[in-house]
């Protein structure tokens, strides 16, 4: 398998991304929200929770990949 040529976001894209995220975090402090469960009242919940979740998902997927993969079938992989 050829190693995928990675797309590396340039410094500029990184900065834009992080700045936008920061902006939204700040904005989140000011908009009126209706927390239902308590945990979603924690500031920036909508940012850190998905981050955490995605990280856990990736770790989980790697683990599963070790156990169940790779498959061999008529696709020739």
């Amino acid at each position: 398998m050829r190693q995928n040529a990675l797309f590396s976001p340039g410094k500029r894209l990184w900065h834009t991304l992080l700045a936008a995220l920061l902006l939204m975090l700040v904005a989140g402090l000011f908009v009126e929200s209706h927390p239902h469960f308590g945990i979603d009242a924690v500031p920036g919940f909508n940012a850190w929770f998905p981050m955490l979740a995605c990280a856990v998902l990736v770790v989980l997927a790697r683990g599963l990949g070790r156990i169940f993969g790779p498959r061999e079938d008529e696709d020739g992989r």
Binding site: A5, L21, M24, P50
Partner: protein, 561 residues
């Protein structure tokens, strides 16, 4: 029989599809473009109500039932057929688009069905139509088409068993919410869930869909699973068991999509994921949730078709399907790249259809105070954006160029994508377009400050995580053993052992039995002098032996019992 049945859009779509099979060139394209529009117009002409009176078996069928929910799904299906036809104008296969019309027409018929039997009839027609669409994908698709057909016919027989049991048990013919009591209703649920791609029958989606042609999968992604979602909405709203089933599907879809290398398989897993999301929404069962599910079915069809169209264009240009073989196409196919990015964003970014629909379901979960469900749905929303959106777009269109020979997609394909993008944008910018069509009255304002800000937080945070973890994502690209391994690899081996092994054994057992009986009856045979005649040809002998055995069995049982 009601006269309105003549205006049944499904019948016209199916007949049109069959006629289309005999046309070529411009008339065929013209028919494929006009049929969905005509069907939509026909549907719009029919006032809400139930039309039927068609005798079949021992029942009078309500073949056509027009209400808000059914009409919404039917219109979405017609949209998918129309856009798909635009996109598939350059399709060389003579079978695919006609088959897609039979398939899509059957799906329209299913969501407009007023009774279980009509629903089942269209259900089976869908299975055949979709098999043909996969089959049109070429030689590599044949075995997958067969596996697909088997799964769906199996689902069909389970569904049919459920329906007959329901009717024989005195259940109503019309499709009403079922109580999930007794075997009949569980069978119906199981039959529908097989078509929805629930555990353990989910692997047919990633197995079969990606083997269809570049345009075939666009059609396939729209109908089967959404029809199943529709039936679940009608018959099992608020069935709590659907929540874990849906979340399991969503989790499975996510993990497998994260690992999968083949671009369209990633999207296939994402379909399982999103259908799971919808099924969990049905499990919540409030009006808000059902509205959300219906709306999200629409949004999902639109953005998934858009992504599949973009990947389809790439496949046509490069002939490559795997993320590891693709990359850097943004320079050669800028327009396609743009639509792909939009498709990824259309999953949930503000100003797109995904934004105004997904939040409905999340809101419903929040209103019902289902903490864990809500959290899981958040994970799904973020994860699918990462796995099916960012991953596919970035790996296929960005990064180092692979020196692939590729040009921009042809106009027909670009028009297909353009139409979908516009639809998503229009609905996203002006939600009442969709909200007014939803089954229940709705009082929800998607564009509040907090909604927009929190959604953007989620998207941006996911993007950041993606870029941080992209190294890991690349390393684990591959395929996992799925449920289908059991019936594709393990199953055939088993069958071989059973069939060949057992048949040899049977033969030996028969021989031994024969010998025993021959010895027993030896004197008798000599007496009647038939020994030579009967023993000469072994097969005749064995036949007679069976006769004798059976006769003895009958006599013994009669006298002993």
């Amino acid at each position: 029989m009601d006269a309105e049945l003549l205006h049944h859009p499904a019948i016209w779509l199916i007949l049109g599809g069959i006629v289309m099979g005999f046309l070529r060139g411009a008339p065929r394209v013209l028919l494929s473009l006009s049929l969905p529009l005509v069907a939509a117009w026909l549907l719009w002409q029919i006032p809400e109500g139930i039309y039927g009176g068609v005798p079949f078996l021992d029942y009078l069928l309500d073949v056509l039932q027009v209400d808000r929910l059914g009409r919404l799904f039917a219109l979405v299906f017609m949209l998918a057929l129309f856009v798909g036809s635009v996109y598939a104008m350059g399709q060389r296969s003579r079978l695919e688009v006609p088959a897609a019309f039979v398939y899509g027409g059957a799906a329209v018929g299913a969501v407009l069905a007023g009774d279980w039997i009509t629903l089942f009839l269209f259900w089976e027609l869908m299975a055949i139509g979709s098999t043909l669409v996969i089959w049109a994908g070429g030689r590599e698709a044949y075995p997958a088409a067969m596996r697909y057909l088997m799964v769906h016919l199996f689902g069909g027989v389970v569904f049919m068993a459920g329906i007959t049991a329901h009717l024989v048990g005195g259940g109503s013919l019309s499709i009403e919410p079922l109580a999930l009591e007794g075997v009949a209703h569980w069978l119906i649920l199981a039959g529908v869930l097989i078509n929805a791609g629930a555990f353990p029958f989910w692997s047919w989606i990633p197995d079969a869909y990606p083997r269809a042609s570049w345009s075939g999968m666009v059609f396939l992604s729209a109908f089967t699973t959404k029809t199943a979602v529709y039936v679940l909405m009608r018959s099992f709203p608020g069935a709590e068991v659907l929540i874990p089933i849906g979340l399991l599907m969503a989790g499975y879809g996510l993990i497998y999509a994260l690992i999968e290398n083949t671009a369209r398989r990633v999207l296939a897993y994402a379909i399982v994921n999103q259908v799971g999301f919808m099924i969990a929404g049905i499990g919540i069962g409030t009006e808000m949730a059902l509205n959300g599910v219906a709306a999200h079915a629409f949004a999902h069809i639109v953005y998934k078709a858009l992504l599949l169209m973009a990947i389809g264009a790439v496949i046509v240009q490069t002939g490559k399907r795997d993320c590891t073989d693709l990359g850097g196409l943004a320079r050669q196919m800028p327009v396609t790249t743009g639509f792909a990015i939009f498709g990824a964003l259309a999953m949930s970014a503000p100003l797109t259809a995904g934004f105004i629909t997904k939040s409905l379901v999340l809101q419903a979960a929040a209103d019902a105070h289902l903490t864990w469900v809500w959290l899981a749905m958040m994970v799904i929303a973020a994860g699918v954006f990462l796995a099916a959106g960012l991953k596919v777009v970035v790996f296929v269109f960005f990064g180092e160029s692979r020196d692939l020979d590729a040009e921009e997609a042809p106009p027909s394909q670009r028009w297909g994508m353009r139409l979908l993008a516009l639809t998503s944008l229009a609905v996203g910018c002006y939600p009442p377009l969709l909200y007014d069509l939803l089954p229940y009255p709705i009082d929800y304002q998607p564009y509040t400050g907090s909604h927009v800000v929190f959604q953007l937080q989620l998207l941006l945070a996911t993007t950041v995580v993606f870029f941080l973890l992209r190294g890991h994502l690349v390393k684990m690209l591959g395929s996992l053993i799925d449920i289908d391994w059991f019936y594709r690899t393990l199953g055939p081996r088993w069958v071989k052992v059973m069939v060949y092994g057992v048949s040899i054994e049977i033969r030996e057992v028969v021989l031994v039995l024969m010998r025993g009986i021959a010895n027993l009856l030896g004197s008798l045979r000599r007496h009647y002098g038939t020994r030579g005649v009967l023993a000469r040809t072994w097969p005749s002998g064995s036949m007679v032996m069976w006769v004798a055995l059976l006769l003895m069995m009958y006599l013994a049982l009669f006298y002993l019992s």
